[in-house]
């Protein structure tokens, strides 16, 4: 059997599987509806899942459209030219510049790898951390999720920017390029039409981030319906415990930065400060980002970068939260 024949067979396989799944759903839809009607906690979980997913979807679509445009029109070379030559200024500029490039954290990891080279390394990492955290789409989503609490948007922006800049400066002081073991795949095609580049990037980013959004919404649904209320009561009662638990929760849930504000807003029984920690840690480091960093930068890099990011992000969020939000 030739490779092409095998590919054709596999393709037919996944499409058939999808058809079977859809027919199965069409036949069992009313049965599942009945099961939900009889089981309160299952219905609650399904409602929370749909709430998080449906609320986040328009923001996600907006994000991937913009990230597709960026992929088509903002070349890495152009971005590098915009950076100041002074490394510290470059890190600061990259941090603020991240605000101009809306996208999910999933999208910023490969972009940062493209920008990553000896002199711009710190700036590239700062950009990677700031772009998904402080861009307009994320800040608007945060403002929508926390109506009447603009201080939450301010605190998130300041704490995330501080995290990104601190990490960039730490890299410039102690980072070693030798840790980055993965080399960049060279398949840069300058002949590809811009529209094709745009749709391909938007398509790829949507599939990646929407899939992770399903995971995150599912985790939020399980948490809301399975974890008893007194657990949240304990978290609410102790600020230190709350901060640690919410930081770890952000790592485990691995939410998209355009959706995490809605999940944080849903955890109404927890005070604002631990929820701010959740919002600052999430876009900077989580299990999905760790996996992506391992794949794109290399294991030696990710093993060092991710834990330090977790500590720095938690510290920045706690300090900024104490100043901006109070206790």
């Amino acid at each position: 059997m030739t490779g092409e024949q095998m590919a054709t067979k596999r393709r037919a396989g996944s499409m058939e599987l999808l058809l079977v799944a859809l027919i199965g759903l069409a036949l069992s839809g009313s049965l599942i509806t009945g099961v939900l009607a009889d089981h309160d906690r299952l219905a609650t979980a399904a409602t929370v899942f749909c709430g998080v997913f449906v609320q986040a979807l328009p923001f996600l679509v907006l994000g991937v459209i913009v990230s597709g445009l960026v992929a088509a029109f903002v070349t890495p070379e152009r971005l590098e030219r915009w950076l100041p030559s002074n490394p510290v200024l470059a890190v600061a500029a990259a941090g603020v510049g991240g605000a101009a490039l809306p996208g999910c954290e999933c999208g910023s990891v490969p972009v940062a790898r493209r920008l990553f080279s000896g002199a711009t390394a710190g700036a590239a990492l700062t950009f990677m951390l700031s772009a998904p955290a402080i861009n307009p789409v994320v800040l608007v989503a945060t403002a929508v999720a926390f109506p009447g609490q603009p201080q939450m948007v301010l605190a998130r922006c300041v704490a995330s920017l501080a995290t990104a800049v601190v990490m960039g400066l730490l890299w410039q002081r102690w980072g070693r390029t030798a840790w980055v073991t993965r080399t960049l795949p060279v398949h840069h095609d300058h002949d590809a039409p811009r529209f094709a580049v745009f749709t391909e990037a938007a398509r790829h980013d949507f599939l990646q981030s929407a899939s992770y959004l399903v995971l995150g919404a599912g985790a939020a649904a399980v948490l809301r319906s399975a974890v008893p209320q007194w657990v949240f009561g304990h978290i609410a009662g102790n600020l230190v415990v709350g901060v640690i638990v919410m930081a770890l929760l952000a790592v485990v849930l691995a939410l998209c930065s355009e959706a995490d504000a809605f999940v944080a807003a849903s955890l109404t029984m927890i005070p604002l400060l631990p929820r701010l920690v959740f919002l600052v840690v999430g876009p900077a480091v989580d299990v999905k980002l760790f996996a992506m960093q391992t794949g794109i930068f290399g294991r030696a890099f990710a093993m060092r970068f991710a834990p330090v990011t977790l500590v720095v992000a938690t510290a920045c969020a706690t300090i900024v939260g104490l100043v901006v939000l109070g206790t």
Partner: protein
């Protein structure tokens, strides 16, 4: 998973988003103000998926150039879950039991005057009873709608989406009549001054003048 299957899944997400927007079942999950954004997202997703599908059908050349690596493509199967829950299954709005009750002592402030017809939402009554420095509820006949929960009239409140649902309620006393649990009522009466205290969890008590059963509204949430 192949590119074609991924594109179809993207198309299905767009179509099911459009479906819940048109059907109105999106109101079970989010606020009415999200409707235009849902429609825009649905149109963009259907458009993007169609463009990718058509280009892949036309030839393999473009696909190879753009580096169509199937990196972790299998994860996209997860997109079937939201498609299933929005297009094939009807997921109910958040129930009273699923909503949290977390009312904290709000700071006192001056509220605007009551509307002339006295029609208020239950969360508004609860907020005014707990935090209005002008005591605008005192001695006023008001009308509220909600569902019965024990001796209370309640409403599920969402701030952003169903995931943040909270329960808002008023104790009822007086001429209520007997209604089974979870009956939707339109209730007229006056709020007893001073009945919203920390010991009642800031749930005020209403002296009922009349209570009329009404059909369950299409949008069960208050905002």
């Amino acid at each position: 998973m192949t590119r074609e299957t991924q594109n179809i899944l993207m198309l299905l997400i767009g179509l099911s988003t459009g479906l819940i927007a048109v059907r109105g079942s999106y109101l079970n999950f989010v606020k009415p103000s999200l409707l235009p954004w849902l429609l825009v997202a649905a149109v963009l997703l259907v458009g993007l998926a169609s463009i990718c599908l058509v280009r892949d059908l036309r030839g393999k050349a473009g696909r190879k150039d753009l580096g169509g690596h199937h990196h972790r493509g299998a994860l996209a199967w997860l997109l079937l879950i939201p498609v299933a829950l929005t297009a094939f299954v009807s997921v109910p709005p958040m129930s009273a039991d699923g909503a949290t009750t977390a009312m904290q002592a709000p700071p006192k402030r001056a509220f605007p005057p009551l509307p002339a017809d006295g029609v208020l939402s239950i969360p508004e009554v609860q907020m005014r009873a707990a935090a209005d420095s002008t005591d605008s509820l005192d001695g006023r006949l008001i009308t509220v709608t909600g569902f019965t929960k024990g001796r209370d009239l309640a409403r599920v409140v969402i701030v952003c989406c169903a995931a943040d649902a909270q329960l808002s309620s008023i104790h009822l006393t007086g001429a209520i009549g007997s209604h089974p649990e979870d009956t939707w009522l339109k209730v007229q009466g006056t709020v007893i001054p001073g009945s919203s205290t920390p010991s009642t969890n800031f749930i005020p008590t209403m002296e009922v003048r009349s209570a009329t059963p009404i059909p369950k509204p299409r949008n069960t949430y208050a905002y």
